[in-house]
Each structure stands twice: as C-alpha cells, then as structure tokens.
C-alpha cells in the first residue's frame, strides 16, 4: 500500500464516518442528530448562518475563481 493509497483511504474513512453518523441519526434511536438538524441549529443565528454560507462560497471560490 502506497502513501497515496493511505492518504486517499483517510479521506474515504472520513466520508464513511459521516455516512455512518447520518444513517445512525435517521435509522436508529442513537443520540446522534442528523446533519440537517445540526445545520439548522447552527444556522439559527446570523453569525452561524453566514459562517456556513461563507464556507460553501469559499469552496466555489477555491476551486474556480482567481
């Protein structure tokens, strides 16, 4: 296994952990909120709301803008 594989495996593990948490939140009675609930809660305040939207905007700027 190369360093490249390990690095990519790390990203996949993070994504898999997120999927597992979402499944646990929506399909079981585990005390885990869904990602949607977490976002709704964070976005109740203006600073939280703008912070999340800026993170989204930054992704577009990072990958496409000068």
């Amino acid at each position: 296994m190369t360093s490249h594989d390990i690095t990519v495996g790390g990203y996949l593990a993070v994504v898999a952990a997120g999927v597992i948490l979402e499944v646990a939140a929506t399909r079981t009675k585990a005390p885990v909120p869904s990602l949607g609930d977490v976002l709704t809660r964070i976005m109740r305040t203006r600073t939280g709301r703008v912070g999340v939207l800026v993170a989204w905007a930054w992704l577009g700027l990072h990958f496409f803008s000068q």
């Binding site: 997120g18 305040t45 709301r49 703008v50 990958f63 803008s65 000068q66």
Partner: protein, 221 residues
C-alpha cells in the same frame, strides 16, 4: 468595536489575510467585507440589547418577513386550503417554478463550466453567485424550519470530530507537499485529487451543479 471579537469574524479575517497573500485578492476582499458586515451587525445588536433586551438574543434571525426565494430552488408546497381546482393550479405553479429553477441551475453549470478554471469569467460568475446567496442568507432562511431544539451533545461531538478529522487529514497532506502550491502524488490534498475531474468541461459542470444544489439547500434552512 465589540463585534470584531466574535470568533467567526476573527476566522473570516484570517481567511481574508491568507487568501490575499496567497494570490487570491478577490476572495480576500469578499471575506473581509463579510467579516466587516458581521462585526458591524454584532456591534449594532449589542447596542440594541443594551437599550432593551429583545427575546431571542443577539444575532437571532428574524423569521418572518423573509426575502423572496431568489436562487433558493423550488418553493415548498404550502398547505392548500380551498377548492381542489386552486390546489391543482398551485401544484402546476410549483412544478413550473421547480422546472424553471432546475433549468436555470443546469444552464449556469453548463455555461460557467465551459470557462477555464481561475479565468476572469469563471471568477465573476462564482463570486457573483456566492455574494448573492450570502446576501439572501443574511436576511434569514427563505423557508424557515422548526427549531430542532437542543441537540444531544455526544452526537454533536461526533459530527465535530468527523469535521475536525477531515480538516486535519487535509492539513497533514498539505504539510507533506513539496511546497504550498506544488501538489504531491504521494500525499494528495482534496484539491489535487479533484484537479483531473475539474480539467474537463463536463467535470466542471457537474461540480458546479453539486455546488449549486448544496447552496440552494443551505439558503433554505
């Protein structure tokens, strides 16, 4: 100015600084403007609170009187009291609006995806849309949702852990590159992994469509 001490404002100022020194002055300027706006807003809310404590606390979003659903995707169907004919017409209107939004989104993704990455046309299109969505989001959710209430702390900690792990893993890969702007095959960052996908028109259009969908989802929350 007390608003400048808000953690989000400090984070945005840091992003603005590092964006500017890494050759992305427009990104830096946008982040700086948003940081200044939030600091001013927090300071204003603080002085209002000092005069009279409103329910909901500083920075709470006004839920009623939200702006029109510009760029927010198709409106959710409202509860339809009244004759069946009106319900039917309302359903058609909703479907028509959804189709119009989908067509606009696909058009945007196809046209902007045809521009080269980091070109001025791509920059203008992405910065313009990002600014518009943030301005809309500033007013409050386009379709307010019920407050889920206090969330279980262990679950929140798990989500925070996943986010932190992703960030640290990316940082680790970035630190192992030969240079900040020299990608490494052995330790690729997410940007390096997505470069081959974003090299083609179709890849860029798909990525932009996904970005639009996420933005539409967030601005409605």
């Amino acid at each position: 100015m007390p608003g400048i001490r808000q953690p989000i404002v400090i984070v945005l100022l840091l992003i603005a600084f590092f964006s500017a020194i890494s050759g992305k002055p427009l990104d830096g300027l946008l982040m700086l403007l948003i940081a200044a706006g939030l600091a001013w807003d927090a300071a204003r809310a603080g002085s209002r609170e000092a005069a009279a404590a409103p329910p909901g606390g500083a920075g709470s979003l006004p839920q009623p009187g939200l702006p029109a659903a510009v760029l927010a995707g198709p409106p959710e169907p409202a509860p339809p009291p009244g004759p069946a004919g009106r319900r039917h017409r309302s359903g058609w209107r909703t479907a028509g609006a959804a189709l119009a939004w989908a067509a606009a989104g696909i058009g945007y993704a196809v046209v902007v995806g045809s521009f080269a990455r980091f070109s001025w046309p791509a920059t203008m299109a992405v910065v313009g849309l990002a600014t518009l969505v943030i301005v809309i989001g500033w007013q409050g959710p386009v379709h307010p949702r019920p407050d889920p209430g206090p969330l279980p702390k262990p679950g929140l900690a798990l989500w925070g852990g996943v986010l932190l792990a992703g960030g640290l893993w990316e940082l680790l890969a970035l630190a192992q590159q030969p240079g900040l702007d020299v990608t490494s095959l052995a330790h690729p960052t997410l940007s390096a992994l997505t470069d081959p996908v974003l090299a083609s028109h179709s890849g860029r259009s798909l990525a932009l469509a996904a970005w639009l969908l996420v933005g539409g989802y967030l601005v409605r929350r």
